[in-house]
């Protein structure tokens, strides 16, 4: 019972830390900068956070975390703004927002869509944080007993799920993940001390650094990809008038916001595309429940409220696997994971018990980030709309220079600039050739943990890999792993049979 009850004292201590004026200021800067970069077309939350990583470095850990959570929420909302105004979703989880959000903005009600999205995001995020505050310590205490075999299974499952649910081909996602795991082996072997794949380069002896990889793959890669004429198609954003939703809009969407919060929280805990799935499911639920489903797609406020609430709730609850198990559930969480490591926080089950002030600092900073987002987004929407009017041709070199100079400031190393360029090219090529860079980064982040756990487990099991299945938790996880790995093949066989039957039917009809 003792482990289940949440000790209130560290929670409150965490709040006093977060509420210090300096920390509030950094959170405010984080939200603003996050939104500023997040509204740049084509830069989703993962890219935004990656580009802004350097500014959180060199600050005191707790403050840096608070700033990071501000950036996180700002970046999330930045994607919503471009979805509504430009029909350009920043990432998959705000795509459904386009259906009704953009329809609303064509009717001159862009302000309503953005306002309701901000309110929905706030409610969804808050519900999720409250639930997280209670659930996370419980999960963490459960995970304290995890040994190397459990971590091996968990990491494998996490990588597989992210590759399965990522956008694009599954085969390519798995290739990306394997390359990410391979990149993680570069450097000194923790067991033998021998150097691996360093080619005699001293800069590689300590392994590849996470920051240039994230900034290159997501940031530079995206900018290079956008260079290919696509930017000429940029359109002028719609005018934004009244941002405050009317009482009627609020009444109409209150149900959607409530359902979205719960749905988002639950789906967000699942590894993979939690937020994306949550926003899709919320939209489907709202449409199904509605007495007037035909309004959906033509500017239904619930069609914005539901998905936006759900994706923010899910984005928040995907912090649970990260903070309690040390396993990031998606690409954005992988970037946050890397950022936390750079700041000096290693997420995992020990975090709650050993460094409660950091753990609660992270969680409470989310409350503050979320509140500041609500306060900032509504009055500042006008400013962000102005930024959208700046031509991408002008924004691109600014972002490139921020990335190149920013990555240098992390370690004061010119080699890191070389790395960010190399990974920028890789990110561009991957995007161009249909490989999702998300699984690569996630696998890279988990690579060291996975290899170490696997080697430790094999030592424990004396080389008998079958013993993975004799331990209840690692066994269950591996069975799930196999199911996830094999299900699509079975599904494919079914689909082929069904399409063959359908084809028979159509030919019959034609006859």
């Amino acid at each position: 019972m003792d482990t289940l009850a949440v000790d209130i004292a560290p929670v409150l201590d965490g709040f006093t830390v977060v509420l210090e004026p300096t920390n509030l200021l950094y959170c405010l800067i984080g939200v603003t900068v996050g939104m500023l970069v997040g509204v740049l077309p084509g830069l989703g939350p993962a890219a935004t956070i990656a580009i802004l990583l350097p500014i959180t470095i060199g600050i005191e850990p707790v403050t840096a975390i608070i700033m990071l959570s501000g950036i996180f929420y700002g970046a999330q909302y930045g994607g919503t703004i471009t979805s509504v105004l430009l029909k350009l979703p920043g990432e998959a989880s705000s795509v459904v927002t386009v259906f009704d959000g953009h329809a609303l903005s064509r009717q001159g009600r862009a302000g309503t869509a953005l306002g309701i999205a901000a309110i929905g995001s706030f409610v969804g995020g808050t519900v999720s944080i409250v639930a997280l505050s209670f659930l996370a310590p419980v999960v963490a205490s459960f995970a304290l007993d995890f040994g190397p075999p459990e971590y091996t299974a968990l990491a494998l499952l996490g990588i597989l799920l992210v590759s399965t649910i990522s956008s694009g081909s599954r085969l390519k996602a798995l290739v990306a993940a394997s390359i990410g795991l391979l990149l993680a082996t570069v450097g000194r072997d923790a067991f033998t001390g021998g150097e691996r794949f360093t080619f005699g380069n001293l800069n590689l002896a300590d392994g590849l650094d996470f920051v240039p990889i994230a900034m290159g793959l997501f940031g530079l890669g995206e900018i290079l990809y956008n260079l290919e004429e696509r930017h000429t198609a940029a359109q002028a954003p719609m005018k934004v008038a009244n941002v405050w939703p009317s009482r009627r809009d609020l009444r109409q969407s209150s149900g959607a916001i409530g359902r979205g919060s719960v749905l988002g929280f639950v789906l967000g805990i699942l590894p993979g595309g939690g937020a994306t799935l949550a926003s899709l499911a919320a939209y489907a639920v709202e449409k199904r429940r509605s007495k007037t489903p035909e309004r959906f797609g033509n500017g239904a406020v619930e069609g914005v409220a539901g998905p936006e609430t759900a994706n923010n709730a899910a984005a928040t609850s995907s912090f649970i696997p990260l903070l309690t198990l040390g396993i990031p559930a998606n690409a954005t969480m992988a970037v946050i994971f890397g950022a936390l490591l750079v700041i000096g926080v290693s997420p995992g089950p020990q975090l709650v018990t050993e460094e409660p002030e950091l753990f609660w600092g992270v969680i409470n900073s989310m409350y503050i980030g979320n509140i500041l987002l609500l306060i900032m987004s509504i009055p500042l929407v006008g400013l962000f709309v102005k930024i959208l009017r700046v031509r991408p041709a002008i924004l691109a070199p600014i972002t490139v220079l921020i990335t190149l100079i920013g990555v240098y400031t992390v370690n004061n190393s010119v080699f890191d600039i070389v790395l960010v360029i190399v990974f920028g090219v890789l990110g561009y090529l991957m995007k161009k050739l249909g490989f999702d860079p998300g699984p690569l980064l996630l696998a890279f982040v988990l690579g060291v943990l996975l290899e170490e756990s696997l080697r430790r487990s094999l030592l424990i099991f004396d080389g008998n890999a079958a013993e993975f299945f004799t331990r209840p938790i690692s066994g269950t996880l591996l069975v799930v792993f196999l199911l996830v790995a094999l299900l699509p093949l079975i599904g494919k066989a079914f689909a082929r049979r069904r399409s063959a039957e359908q084809q028979n039917d159509t030919t019959k009809e034609l006859v």
């Binding site: 979703p89 795509v95 459904v96 399965t164 081909s169 085969l171 290739v175 394997s178 391979l182 082996t185 067991f191 033998t192 691996r196 794949f197 260079l227 290919e228 004429e229 789906l267 993979g272 595309g273 799935l277 499911a281 939209y283 489907a284 449409k287 199904r288 797609g297 031509r391 991408p392 041709a393 691109a396 070199p397 600014i398 220079l401 100079i405 240098y408 400031t409 004061n412 010119v414 600039i417 360029i421 920028g424 090219v425 161009k432 050739l433 290899e451 696997l454 094999l458 004396d462 080389g463 008998n464 890999a465 299900l487 699509p488 093949l489 689909a495 082929r496 399409s499 359908q502 159509t506």
Partner: protein
Amino acid sequence: MTSAHDGAHAPTGPGGSTAAGASPLGADDAARSTTAVESPSTLHDLEEAVHRLEAEAEHRPPAAGPTTNLVVATLVVALGAAALVGSLSLGVGSARTPGSGTWPLILSLLIVVLGLGLAVTARSTTDAERFSRSSLLVLAGLATMVVFVALIGTIGFEIPAALLAFVWLRFLGGEGWRLSVVMSLGLVVAFYLIFVAALSVPIPHLF
């Protein structure tokens, strides 16, 4: 329930549009998707609508041909093979006493197998984009960054940064001469003030 669904109908997953779209069912598929635009109701329809919208938002150029796909597959296999050779030289060890090369060996084998999988499906792959003349812009952009990193150590960041910004604005972005010159100089001044004057980051600088 939802996760199982997602596993089976992973958006552009193996059984998804690639396999089915290439079959004679294409027309049927297209008819179904147009109705989905107006009223995406089930999760599956929604996913399809989402993918179309993403493609539309990015103005994706036409898909690359099988040659590109085969080249990609070959590169993946080659990478796997190179890593395989590297892992073997690291010492493979055994299951009982895993060595430095054990894990890389497993990974490189996996990469080779997945690469072969890419080669087999090269004909039906539609998610790679064709390289076009505008891809040269990317090379030009890359060149400015290479110049930047090559010069920064010797002459500081100011001149390379101004050059980079100027090339991106004037030639890659098609802005006017005057704006490009003023913007690139202004940017360098701003960066100097922020990084050198305010934050005193030890970035190599000329002035």
